[in-house]
Symmetry: D2
Subunit: 370 residues, 4 copies
Amino acid sequence: MSHNSFGHLFRVTTFGESHGVAIGCVVDGCPPGIPLSEADIQHDLDRRRPGQSRFTTQRREPDRVRIVSGVFEDDRTPGPVTTGTPIGLMIDNEDQRSKDYAEIRDAYRPGHADLTYDLKYGLRDYRGGGRSSARETAMRVAAGAIARKVVPGLRVRGGLVQMGPLTIDRARWDWDEVERNAFFSPDAEAAARFEAELDAARKRGSSLGAVIEVVAEGVPPGLGAPIYAKLDADIAAALMSINAVKGVEIGEGFASAALSGQENADEMRAGNDGITFLSNHAGGILGGISTGQPVVARFAVKPTSSILSPRRTVDRFGAEREVVTKGRHDPCVGIRAVPVGEAMLACVIADHYLRQRAQVTPAPHWPFPR
Amino acid sequence: MSHNSFGHLFRVTTFGESHGVAIGCVVDGCPPGIPLSEADIQHDLDRRRPGQSRFTTQRREPDRVRIVSGVFEDDRTPGPVTTGTPIGLMIDNEDQRSKDYAEIRDAYRPGHADLTYDLKYGLRDYRGGGRSSARETAMRVAAGAIARKVVPGLRVRGGLVQMGPLTIDRARWDWDEVERNAFFSPDAEAAARFEAELDAARKRGSSLGAVIEVVAEGVPPGLGAPIYAKLDADIAAALMSINAVKGVEIGEGFASAALSGQENADEMRAGNDGITFLSNHAGGILGGISTGQPVVARFAVKPTSSILSPRRTVDRFGAEREVVTKGRHDPCVGIRAVPVGEAMLACVIADHYLRQRAQVTPAPHWPFPR
Amino acid sequence: MSHNSFGHLFRVTTFGESHGVAIGCVVDGCPPGIPLSEADIQHDLDRRRPGQSRFTTQRREPDRVRIVSGVFEDDRTPGPVTTGTPIGLMIDNEDQRSKDYAEIRDAYRPGHADLTYDLKYGLRDYRGGGRSSARETAMRVAAGAIARKVVPGLRVRGGLVQMGPLTIDRARWDWDEVERNAFFSPDAEAAARFEAELDAARKRGSSLGAVIEVVAEGVPPGLGAPIYAKLDADIAAALMSINAVKGVEIGEGFASAALSGQENADEMRAGNDGITFLSNHAGGILGGISTGQPVVARFAVKPTSSILSPRRTVDRFGAEREVVTKGRHDPCVGIRAVPVGEAMLACVIADHYLRQRAQVTPAPHWPFPR
Amino acid sequence: MSHNSFGHLFRVTTFGESHGVAIGCVVDGCPPGIPLSEADIQHDLDRRRPGQSRFTTQRREPDRVRIVSGVFEDDRTPGPVTTGTPIGLMIDNEDQRSKDYAEIRDAYRPGHADLTYDLKYGLRDYRGGGRSSARETAMRVAAGAIARKVVPGLRVRGGLVQMGPLTIDRARWDWDEVERNAFFSPDAEAAARFEAELDAARKRGSSLGAVIEVVAEGVPPGLGAPIYAKLDADIAAALMSINAVKGVEIGEGFASAALSGQENADEMRAGNDGITFLSNHAGGILGGISTGQPVVARFAVKPTSSILSPRRTVDRFGAEREVVTKGRHDPCVGIRAVPVGEAMLACVIADHYLRQRAQVTPAPHWPFPR
């Protein structure tokens, strides 16, 4: 049991506060012999990095990752490879303007963890949100970059499908578009609407929520387990553990409640090399176990709680006050949650890939002989 | 790590198949000295028991629980009390009509775990769904009955708030009504509509999904943890692990994506003995840690996959077929999921209650002295 | 984390008290498709069963195990096989003479857990030692019988190498002899001496300790892990967790402290299909990882604390008293600890076998190509 | 589950290789509000640091620890205090002479993990032993320094009680002496003999083993648990996980096998504020649970495997060779294992202290009312 670890066999432990010396993580259980360089991880980190558009915080963090252990290179290896020992990752904090946060030292910002940290621990590192800052998610993205390499053939992608009240048109879904706009929107037209909406929200001193969809292709069938170690249960925990997330759904999700039994059933046909499903309402998971179809999950991110409009609150001495959150904040934290969601999904799948390998090797052959 | 365990300090491990000898569970880590009799558990089990209305399976299981360990009574104890050692619980299976399931021996029912068990394990106990049967949830309810007693002052209740396309009117919410109708609906008027809708679905050889809301009152502030051991992350895993669940949300949930930052902020005022919130969009959890407000979660249950309408599928030898699921099934598994959801929420809270006690004893006093 | 579980991927959870309804265990994570019947387990249980000679307790327990879940049989399986779901095992308690224990209700027997249970929990099930009774070890033996089947080619055997001050002559070691005498002694001549010594101890109202050696052959190389998941660290915990055990050693053990570096080094030569070691001071483990040599461990069992000689103690009210332990007790609990030690060693190896398969599949080929 | 973590509620995860950039660790679950500065940790590290006498490796590492997270200080705290979030610790590696190790790149040193790492992972970081270097134990000492502060009134000390064939005279035990000689010997006279013996061994190109005793005073009663989470089982794992350890014993340990039941019983009398034991053969633990007496454990360390005498071995290509280990090595690794053993014992006790607080708060009052 660990408060700051995730996964069992592919196990990620993070540490570090927003305004401390550094943030870091330890990835334990990674198989040996996987090519891994800092550049591999940096690529994913750069997608999450702040300050890349006017829609994300202007904090200037290069987020340069260093691998401090678990990788080895000599003339017999094809560049650096994992050794099977724990992979230590570090990112130094550079652009900490602690003075920006002096006013939240005592007051509890609504929607933030300020209050609950004090209720729980009796004290907190209030600088930039301390441990509750979204800065921690950089380490998730780093771990996810490794997880992606653990499962052969795995591809995990994500897109923002709703911002505030605006949704994308799924008929225009284009994965290539995701990397072309500042919103990770798979619908170029929606991206333009998102831009206008977010600018307007910012002008109002407000913020917006979002819904993100993450999709994993190439997930081997048989991952997950009945009952408590269901693949979807672990995905739910993984995505819900991301800052500001308030909901998670798999496949048809909440909409499935309104479907009939006939509509919801994903019918099957025999394909050339396995089963072909005629639909994927299940989101690639049946009974907690992957079917081989794409695993599809969505999660809802609440609007950023750090806003310029004054809100009523109390302080740590029990006095009533108003609070306005200045500083550098994302007006929609959901945007940068896209690569974070991808990373968490990749970590869950990597973990279950190793778990399945432990319990069932070799994998069963299907179809069974008559 | 365990495939069939849930929780860390209040740890539940279940075993048993639908048509085996018995189902059982082990509750480990329960504090000593808590009064606990079989009647305490039976009360909750009876709420989940099948065959109580025409809207649930007609399988006749008395679901009589036996406590086989972990409880002791002598002339110095006030009836049987927990000893702190593992509590073993058993329910014998009685009404197994295995012949009903002969036809699903080879064919994969769409929406069921039949296929994925075979893909994972290479074989399965197909009688009544084996381990993937909802019968396992009886043990969750039993464990939840114990969990409720672990946290002083805790009250966990649930209600069905949507069936198929029909929703309740929240203005008519009446907790007392929940126990009066066959749907656990807090809205009596909605219950009548649910009844008509479900009868119609059954006549069509179809089934309906549902959304359930569970609410925990009396949750001490400070439960949960930052990052991966967030209270809401564990709730998400707990609820998503229930059979047929496809979505989980906390507080405002998916709807929060469309709120503005101002709307979503739960403002605070100073009450006489603690903080008063002016709203509860957060569902009682901020930054993964309980605020002291009611913890509110909802989960979506897909329509029962066992339906009388023929569906296209394949069998274990790769041949294409049609399958119709006869036998005794709930036309809306969401109904009996209500006490199961309550139990899972209670288990998560009990677990975090013990975790918090481990790390922070005594609890911090708030407000802090000036 | 669990107080009553052992292992990670091959995970054993036990429950039940000496004089409760039953004892039981859940084995989670077992690979599917392994032939497993009650007879397989019963064979090992019978070796541990009480009442088989005058040197063990006269409690008459048939110790008949029932498999209540996790195993399935139909016309396509070669008898019952594991399904990959949790294996539930139960043994009903039959011969409980609770009245024998009335006198220890209040007094603390020296060397027993009576006192510490009260200090920890504030109450205890005192009937026959409750949860601290060696009766629990029946479930370890049952789980071990399954573990033995998980690792292909594994053979785990044990023998009693010291009783009281008497030791075996290792030159006379004969594995076949172990099953022929009442002491599990691999040295027939020592068995005769043990018999005389134990009869004398019993006549004096006393008891004897013992040292047991357990040996696992066919352990694949590469099991274990650096640092905290060392194979020997887990063996140490496993053996130390057996009732009355006060010491554990691997290979040369404590004697290695007096060897020189040259003596202790197990030199290596190239064999036809792998490495040949010229000695096995290491007990088959280097750096926490198995070498492929036999894994050799020993553990020391203290003399039975239940003796007929009066000892000074206090009771639960703080009053000083003397206590004599009547009832049915093994004069040397070390004897029946032999199959228990074997079982624990088998469980550890099975667990690490699955862990290794998770992280490193396929196993590296050695020697490496030039 | 984690290969490189130790403990459950006080959870230590280490990473880093001997010749990598740095070694580090994460301590998760530490209670908040505990004063903790780098100086607190450095004090313990300096006791383990290499190069302090001619009896330890001449590698010059300042072993300067940096706290990178989990500690906070402002004008309201009494210096830096823990926040309850993960404590990240880092020590940069400075004096890595990797060229010294070129010759062990291919050959397997007897007694080392070289071979088993290759058998397990198929590759290894051979520089200075990589992850299997005793350098990792610096992080254990650092974590132990924190653990000592978690349990109020806890005092953990250790001494070397045997080196090679030489033992101390327990009648001369003087804790103050431990810090005065280069061997952590509690017997000054023995320290002189150890010195001569170790000089002689070194001249012979050989090395010596050792036995270390660690003692924890102020351990609250009630720590540990029945069955698998026994306090002594966790101590056994903790000590056996230290490099080169081959045996662990509690209290009387292996010697208890030769005691009679009467001798071994620790009789009890009623003291003024609790129970007084007339002896401590049990080493402070009964039935896996602490009695309140000092917890006493011993562990055996094999002679250093890195010796200047040539030994026969094979290389990674299967060729037979001889190997001589040059470089900078401790001729008796047992010496520096003393502070490491103390640290591991402190970590286990801190972990169980939190576990007990979780399950049983408040602690039971003893004696019980009549």
